[in-house]
């Protein structure tokens, strides 16, 4: 008789909630009549993400001490639970942003099913405690995202986006897998903490494996030079999908990167801090400079997300207690700003039925005061201006770098921010300084469609972006207790 391991179902509950929602949504696709399908599917997906959110919050509250569950396959600790809270929260907002999209209704339930499945995959991924679950989680959410990118076959570039993401993503997965194989070869262990315990110093096989795994994860966080898929995939994918990808994927990839590095490679810290700092600098340089040249706002934000990967790699490179707090804190306003900004773009896109360029935003701020002002706040947040959490995030990231003794990393970050001012403020300029009379393109006709769900989603993002500036202490407390789960 096969011995079954003890399974802590509660530790898996956020993932399970979302995968259950995904399964139920596939049934909705078949059984619910077409005219009510959109509503039912969106409600169900929202409920799934919300349930996952609640489970993750409870899980975080009830896991003060980090443990590994299910034969060392998954972590049960606050670090990953907090990341799951963020991922599920991103999912809820993504559902709100998706609701008004002009989906072809025969695929609407499948869309939400894939979204929920991607969320479940990410929630599983952030818990990964060994190389098997790591790869499984990665592929799980990646495959869902490949399909989501290409789901709107009517959209120009959507299929292209999906294909590019698929091919480059596959390279990333292969890199990660190869790295995992080398790590197993070097240590004979699969789970992170045992790799850390078994590692010999100066083992070149281990170092090579570490490098490959790091690169594989950098593909997912779209850090340069592994960001090549990002602009095309972000631009081509339906905008709500882009919003979800840019926020939740980044949470998953960055949180796992740090978790993996500190649990499996404590002895190689002198190497990976430098490697991560290098990737951070490359991302800051490439992301910010490339964004300057963009006219398409989605593409501009795609490069901005590359540069933000660089920013959030700074606290990872710092590898100290302050950096851990900085990473978790920064992710909160970052997710809100990213979701919110893409949400506003989605609204403009629906109004114009055309890709949003800087020219197309002319007069938007005056005609749609709420969305315009929100976009303004999100841009200032990305730029790291006060009254948004982006400011505190950058401040903590710089503080972590300084604590590590790397003042030059602050200089790189500051230089990147100065460059970024040009393009973030270009968006504000496009919205407010130009009149809609200059608009070359007529709006799609009539008054803009009312989209209450999107407005609620953007309002939530706005509240979090601004609120995280004022309520720093509670969020830092959360980040602090999350970081306590880690070995140092």
């Amino acid at each position: 008789m096969i011995q079954k391991p003890h399974i802590d179902w509660f530790a898996l509950s956020p993932s399970l909630a979302m995968i259950a929602a995904a399964g139920a949504l596939l049934l909705v696709a078949v059984f619910v009549p077409r005219r009510r399908r959109k509503q039912a599917a969106a409600t169900l997906a929202g409920a799934g993400f919300l349930a996952a959110f609640v489970f993750a919050v409870v899980l975080a509250a009830k896991s003060p001490h980090g443990t590994t569950e299910v034969v060392d396959a998954v972590f049960r600790d606050r670090w990953s639970a907090v990341a799951q809270v963020l991922i599920a929260g991103c999912g809820v907002v993504a559902v709100l942003l998706s609701y008004g999209e002009h989906w072809r209704d025969e695929h609407v339930a499948e869309y939400y099913a894939l979204l929920a499945a991607a969320g479940a995959g990410m929630a599983f991924f952030v818990q990964a405690a060994n190389l098997m679950t790591l790869f499984l989680g990665l592929e799980w959410f990646s495959i869902s995202l490949y399909v989501l990118c290409a789901i709107d076959i009517d959209l120009v570039g959507s299929l292209e986006a999906g294909l590019k993401y698929l091919i480059i993503g596959a390279v990333g997965s292969a890199t990660l897998l190869f790295g995992s194989a080398l790590l197993y070869g070097a240590t004979g262990q699969l789970s992170f903490d045992k790799i850390g315990a078994a590692a010999h110093p100066h083992d070149s096989l281990l170092v090579l494996g570490l490098a490959l795994v790091l690169a594989g994860l950098a593909f997912k966080s779209s850090a340069a030079p592994f960001h090549m898929w990002t602009p095309d995939a972000y631009t081509g994918a339906p905008t709500p999908v882009t919003a979800f990808m840019s926020s939740a994927t980044k949470v998953a990839a960055l949180v796992v990167t740090y978790h993996l590095l500190v649990t499996a490679f404590p002895t190689e810290q002198h190497l990976w801090t430098w490697a991560v700092a290098g990737i951070a600098c490359a991302s800051l340089a490439i992301g910010n400079v490339a964004a300057l040249a963009q006219r398409n706002v989605k593409r501009l934000l795609a490069y901005s997300s590359v540069s933000h990967a660089g920013f959030m790699l700074i606290p990872i490179a710092a590898a100290n207690a302050l950096g851990e707090r900085a990473l978790i804190y920064y992710l909160i306003p970052y997710c809100a700003m990213s979701l919110g900004a893409f949400g506003v773009i989605a609204a403009r896109e629906r109004e114009l039925n055309a890709p949003v360029t800087l020219e197309n935003l002319a007069g938007f701020g005056w005609e749609r005061p709420f969305l315009g002002a929100s976009m303004w706040v999100f841009m200032l947040g990305f730029l790291g201006f006060p009254l948004t959490g982006g400011f505190i995030g950058k401040f903590y990231a710089f503080a972590a770098a300084y604590r590590h003794g790397w003042w030059w990393l602050i200089v790189v970050g500051v230089a990147g921010t100065i460059v970024s001012a040009a393009y973030y403020l270009a968006v504000v300029r496009a919205m407010y300084f130009r009149d809609s009379a200059e608009l070359q393109l007529a709006p799609a006709g009539g008054s803009p469609p009312r989209d209450a769900a999107l407005a609620v989603g953007v309002a939530l993002c706005l509240a979090i972006t601004v609120g995280s500036f004022f309520a720093v202490q509670p969020l830092i407390d959360v980040a602090h207790s999350a970081a306590n789960a880690l070995p140092f």
């Binding site: 002002a373 201006f385 006060p386 009254l387 300084y402 200089v411 500051v414 300084f433 830092i476």
Partner: protein, 473 residues
């Protein structure tokens, strides 16, 4: 109540801004409501002065709440003798700006007046912040309304003006952020009242460059001509009258107070820059083709003079610098508003097209003459008192500086008299029609109080200079 006064001074205009943005206020009430809020702000400030004990050098009207504890950052605000005068300058100039904008009428009034109030709140915040991060937050927050105020309501060249303005100031302030992070972590707290001195030259430069850009000091003044010319008149007035004082205050409160060693080491280079700005600004003001150009470049020169006072690093210099900040703030605001009023009448500010406006316009002539004469520092004017203190202070650092400063005051007389004669005297310019009226009652109600305060300060300059310092905190 006393503990809350500073917080109220900061929050009141911001709350007013939020009210204008969010509440469905009818269009025709927006200007009056904003003016009301800014006048209440002045009232609160007067109450704050009444409760302020000028005999004590301690921080007063203060309030502190932890913001995030692990890095020692807190909402810590309060007033010193010198900062309360600058807060007052902000409140008064903010009220004048609101009134002028209300009178002149601006498109999209809800956004416009909201931004003006927000700007006032942010500047008061900078002058009141006793925590380095709060200081920085307000310092950056000022840029948000300014960017839009220039970019949306500015003149034809506004795009270029905003871009250069933002590039300069963002670059400067982010260098300061880097310096703040390093300095705060070294000290273990960001509380300005608890932070000890530091001898690090790089940190000093990080702060000094940010303030030099904001002031601006030569050679960081590249953004100045465009921004001052293209903004609406009252925004130019705030920029040169109030925002530039933020930089001077920053030098005083942070760069000089916290970095005594580097201040000593960099004194000569900074005084050299200030001297160049002083003379070069005066010469440019003398050559400027339009009213705003004259006022803008005179502002560059005056900031050089104020820097003289600050880096004289003695009580005479500090007292003179604070008095001169208040003087120059009021003068700049008045002159820019007058420039706006003249531009409304003649549809241009080109000096070659103006002239002869004194004829039949006694009120305009009187106000412009009075302000101009105070600006060129005739004896018994408040500007004379300020400049005298500054020169006396910098004399102790070396007589050469005082000579350059005195020469610049002569240049100031030249450009100010040129401005007055080009606008008021000479033959009637082609842009001046007989139909152009004298200053109206509403306009007088805005500028006469400003000139009145200048006259009071002329009679009693020690009101400011004698009530600012009891030694640096």
């Amino acid at each position: 109540m006393t503990h809350w006064l500073t917080t109220i001074l900061i929050v009141l205009p911001v709350a007013g801004a939020l009210l204008l943005w969010l509440a469905p206020v009818p269009r025709q009430w927006v200007g009056s409501l904003a003016t009301l809020v800014s006048l209440v702000e002045v009232g609160v400030w007067i109450e704050a002065v009444r409760r302020f004990d000028f005999g004590s050098s301690a921080l007063q009207l203060g309030q502190q709440h932890a913001w995030f504890r692990d890095l020692g950052v807190s909402w810590h605000v309060g007033q010193f003798g010198f900062s309360i005068w600058l807060v007052g300058l902000t409140a008064v100039c903010g009220a004048a700006a609101s009134m002028y904008a209300w009178w002149a009428g601006r498109e999209r009034p809800r956004a416009y007046f909201g931004l003006l109030l927000f700007l006032t709140g942010a500047v008061v915040g900078v002058f009141s912040a006793q925590d380095l991060l709060v200081f920085y937050a307000f310092f950056e927050a000022m840029l948000i309304p300014l960017y839009v105020l220039i970019g949306v309501w500015g003149g034809a060249g506004r795009m270029r003006a905003t871009i250069t303005f933002v590039v300069y100031t963002v670059a400067g302030s982010l260098l300061m952020l880097a310096a703040i992070v390093v300095y705060g972590l070294q000290q273990g707290t960001f509380d300005l009242t608890k932070m000890g001195p530091s001898g690090n030259d790089w940190l000093f430069l990080g702060f000094a460059i940010a303030f030099a850009v904001k002031a601006p000091l030569w050679p960081f003044h590249g953004w100045l001509p465009d921004a001052y010319r293209e903004s609406p008149a009252e925004v130019s007035g705030l920029l040169s009258g109030v925002i530039s004082k933020v930089a001077a205050y920053g030098f005083l409160r942070i760069a000089i107070d916290k970095f005594p060693g580097p201040t000593h080491d960099f004194r000569v280079p900074i005084l050299v820059l200030a001297s160049i700005g002083l003379v070069y600004g005066s010469l440019l003001a003398f050559r400027a083709p339009d009213i705003r150009g004259v006022v803008a470049y005179s502002s560059l020169s005056q900031m050089g003079l104020i820097t003289y006072g600050l880096f004289a690093a003695n009580d005479l210099g500090f007292n003179g610098a604070v008095l001169q900040m208040v003087n120059h703030g009021l003068i700049s605001m008045t002159l820019f508003l007058l420039a706006g009023m003249v531009e409304r009448r003649a549809a241009t500010g080109e000096l070659s097209l103006l002239g002869g406006m004194a004829r039949g316009r006694p009120a305009l002539a009187t106000v412009l003459m009075t302000t101009g004469i105070i600006a060129l520092a005739v004896p018994l004017s408040s500007n004379f008192a300020g400049e005298f203190l500054i020169l006396a202070g910098v004399f102790q650092q070396g007589w050469g500086w005082a000579v350059i400063g005195a020469a610049a005051i002569v240049l100031a007389a030249m450009y100010m008299l040129r401005l007055i004669s080009a606008v008021l005297h000479r033959e009637t310019g082609p842009a001046v029609s007989d139909a152009a009226l004298d200053l109206r009652g509403a306009e007088l109600a805005i500028v006469v109080p400003l000139v009145g305060i200048l006259l009071v300060l002329s009679a009693w300059p020690a009101a400011v200079s004698g009530h600012s310092f009891l030694g640096l905190p």
